[in-house]
């Protein structure tokens, strides 16, 4: 019994960190953002070649066969780097399809997702913050007509896993007829979002157990909590580094007690989130009784800390933090997406309470 990463897990985080440090430096990020990019094809290729597209896909289908903990550990690195990649939606779509009991169905989709030849996204939300499977209303007959909202990186995706009334799931070919992707004026340009408009669109129902959507949804919460921790810890590091070099009144600002204490408080909020997201992910793999509670609590808690950390770090940078050219806003905007996507903290604190046994 232990609460430790394995050597393989550490190695994966380090390998991912190396690629991202190289390819997601400040210059590349700003270039992607200012170009309003949909997909950094080269980066996607690099990551896919490392196996990142198929972390959660069974080895039989060409993936690494790992669990939600491993997805979350990778997600932390994406959050740290603010990586402009479609992995969150892609992973979750693969997670959903991986729950199919139909071997042919899995064989049809998963190898292309594991290799990254195809990109997938998920379309869960409906208008009015209807994120949870029990809130979905899109009717799922042979074909779909209606709107699903906030699909991440929709413009670069080939397929989407779509949530249907009754918590069912279906795979939709986004290049198929009747599909219109409406690009949204998203706050976070590293993860451009789209609404999916379906007009009599063919779909393939997933042959998955009744709780499959709930499981994928919970996995998503844990993965976003991990991204939030990665981002929050990066914000803390940036603020601390800035305090070490920036001078005012003839001294390093990190020497002023008020700022020192603000940064200590920030560390005090951010660092304990690591154990929180670890358990949020661990429960998905190994503690089903706590899976929903742990996922919602981690999403709400870490998501809130990320928002606070991003706003505080930006403030501690002074005026420069408010400029488009500087980096701070990239993480603030990711924090705003992480806060809202899959449901915000108000929703998930309540969901956690409802599964806390009170």
């Amino acid at each position: 019994m232990n609460f430790l990463l394995s050597e393989e897990q550490k190695a994966m985080q380090e390998a991912l960190a190396r690629v991202l440090a190289d390819r997601c430096d400040s210059r590349s990020l700003h270039a992607f953002i200012d170009a309003k990019g949909d997909l950094d094809t080269e980066l996607w290729r690099l990551l896919a070649d490392q196996g990142m597209a198929g972390i959660g896909v069974a080895e039989a289908h060409g993936g690494l066969g790992l669990g939600v903990v491993d997805l979350a550990l990778a997600s932390e690195m994406l959050g740290r780097a603010a990586a402009p990649v479609p992995l969150h939606g892609h992973w979750l779509a693969a997670h959903a399809i991986g729950q199919s009991t139909d071997a042919a169905q899995k064989a049809r989709w998963l190898p292309d997702l594991a290799s990254g030849r195809k990109i997938a996204t998920i379309a869960f939300a409906e208008d009015g913050a209807r994120w949870t499977p029990d809130a979905w209303t899109l009717e799922g007959g042979k074909s779909l007509s209606g709107v699903k909202r906030f699909a991440p990186c929709a413009a670069s995706a080939d397929i989407a896993v779509v949530g249907l009334k009754g918590g069912e799931l279906a795979v939709v070919d986004l290049h198929g007829e009747g599909v219109r992707i409406e690009a949204l004026a998203g706050i976070d340009r590293t993860r451009p979002m789209g609404d999916l408009h379906f007009d009599n669109v063919a779909c393939e129902r997933l042959a998955a157990p009744a709780d499959a959507a709930e499981k994928t949804f919970n996995a998503g919460l844990a993965i976003i909590a991990a991204d939030a921790f990665g981002g929050a810890s990066r914000c803390l590091d940036m603020a601390v580094e800035y305090a070490k070099v920036r001078e005012q009144f003839g001294r390093k600002i990190g020497g002023f007690q008020a700022l020192r204490h603000q940064l200590a408080n920030l560390a005090n909020e951010v660092e304990p989130c690591r154990g929180m997201y670890w358990f949020g992910a661990y429960a998905q793999d190994s503690d089903p009784a706590q899976a929903t509670h742990a996922a919602s609590l981690a999403k709400a808690h870490v998501g809130q800390r990320y928002l606070e950390a991003a706003r505080s770090a930006l403030e501690y940078h002074g005026g420069i933090g408010f400029t488009w050219e500087y980096d701070s806003h990239i993480w603030l905007k990711r924090a705003m997406l992480d806060q809202s996507w899959l449901g915000n903290a108000d929703a998930h604190y309540l969901r956690a309470a409802d599964h806390a046994g009170w």
Partner: protein, 390 residues
């Protein structure tokens, strides 16, 4: 203690309303800017604008009267009539000139600043010297009958559309930090000045960098004596802070927040029906109303020649705390719309959440603009609470 509108105020409100009915809106067709200028001239003549400024400099020189000011505000707002020009020239420079300027400076600059003809930028902050004005490095040398200015300013709001700038520059490099600074006026429309707009994280670009490369200004375009710039600039700050704009801003935003809560959903019903949200709104209203009545008290005491105590020094910090609270609640009410902001659009989007998404990203800047909150706290600790220096 009397906040009531007596009968004389009813008559006054009718008078204001009648004036507005006659003068606003103007008939269509003519040049809009000229109409606004003419309207302001008339309204000032009637004592509705620039009430604290002497007539000889273009003000209406009225006795302080909170209720009249409120009536004017309400009636003008009702018909969307223009009020005083919103510019750092009106907010800061005019007060400074009234206290520290020469007679010719007052005559030359104040009336046209009030009319909106002269639009000003402020040149205080520099890269590397945000809150620490004493360490600024932009310098001016006296060459013949001119100051020759070299250096760079930053965070100058709307400088790209300003005609003039009031600027702090170092005129005596040998003097101790605070002592070698002077307060100059400067024409921005000259070859020695380059202006670059700064794109902000909200997508707006009202802030500018201003570069001086042998920019020039006449030797007598200085306010106060050489080396007195630091002192002169604190006069400016005092005037900035004693304005009632903080509570107006907070009141307007609070009203919008309540409207937003009526449209937003929370726990499956209109947010305004949730006891939790209602309490949160009341908590914020408690702060807004505290600011309002503390402001009434301050204004009344100043008008009566009494010392209002420490509230004046708190107002800035208090206002930015309120902005933070509203930004946080607004962001919660925005729900999924917190993920959306059309950075390329300047109009209020149909969602109505853009205001809150933007405020959520920029309310921290209120803590920075015009003196970071940590600096404010230092000032309060030392001057208002009398704590020993660090």
């Amino acid at each position: 203690m009397d906040l009531s509108y007596g009968p004389q105020y009813g008559a006054y409100r009718a008078e204001v309303a009648a004036f507005l009915a006659a003068s606003w809106p103007p008939r269509d067709g003519a040049d809009r800017d000229a109409q606004i200028t003419e309207f302001r001239r008339l309204a000032t003549e009637r004592g509705y604008l620039y009430r604290g400024i002497p007539k000889q400099y273009g003000g209406s020189e009225q006795p302080a009267d909170l209720l009249r000011a409120r009536i004017i505000g309400e009636e003008f707002a009702r018909v969307h009539a223009p009020r005083e020009v919103i510019n750092v020239g009106v907010g800061n420079l005019v007060g400074t000139l009234l206290e520290c300027g020469t007679e010719w400076q007052k005559e030359m600059f104040i009336p046209k600043t009030l009319s909106g003809e002269y639009y000003w930028a402020q040149g205080y902050s520099e890269p590397g010297a945000g809150s620490d004005l004493a360490s600024l490095r932009t310098r001016a040398e006296r060459v013949g009958d001119k100051w020759v200015i070299n250096g760079q300013k930053i965070w100058s709001s709307f400088a790209y559309m300003a005609k003039y700038m009031f600027v702090l520059v170092r005129t005596d490099p040998q003097a101790p930090k605070h002592k070698g600074i002077s307060y100059l006026l400067l024409d921005l429309q000259q070859p020695g000045v380059k202006i670059r707009r700064i794109k902000q994280i909200t997508g707006q670009s009202e802030f500018c960098e201003v570069f001086f490369d042998n920019a020039e200004t006449p030797t007598d375009w200085i306010v106060g004596k050489p080396g007195e710039g630091w002192k002169v600039s604190t006069v400016t700050l005092k005037h900035e802070r004693s304005s009632g704009r903080g509570v107006d801003w907070a009141s307007a935003h609070f009203a919008w927040l309540v409207e937003f809560a009526k449209r937003a959903q929370y726990d499956g019903r209109p947010a305004i029906e949730s006891p939790e949200i209602r309490r949160q709104l009341a908590v914020i209203q408690g702060h807004v109303e505290s600011m309002r009545y503390s402001g009434y008290r301050q204004t009344s005491m100043e008008a009566a020649g009494e010392n209002p105590g420490i509230f004046r020094s708190l107002m800035k910090l208090y206002g930015s705390d309120i902005a933070q609270k509203m930004a946080l609640l607004g962001a919660r009410l925005a729900g999924d719309d917190l993920m959306l902001l059309d950075l390329d659009s300047t109009r209020e989007s149909r969602r109505g959440s853009d205001r809150w998404v933007q405020l959520f990203m920029s309310s921290m800047v209120l803590a920075i603009a015009g003196g970071a909150s940590n600096i404010q706290r230092n000032i309060i600790a030392e001057r208002s609470l009398g704590l020993p220096r660090e």
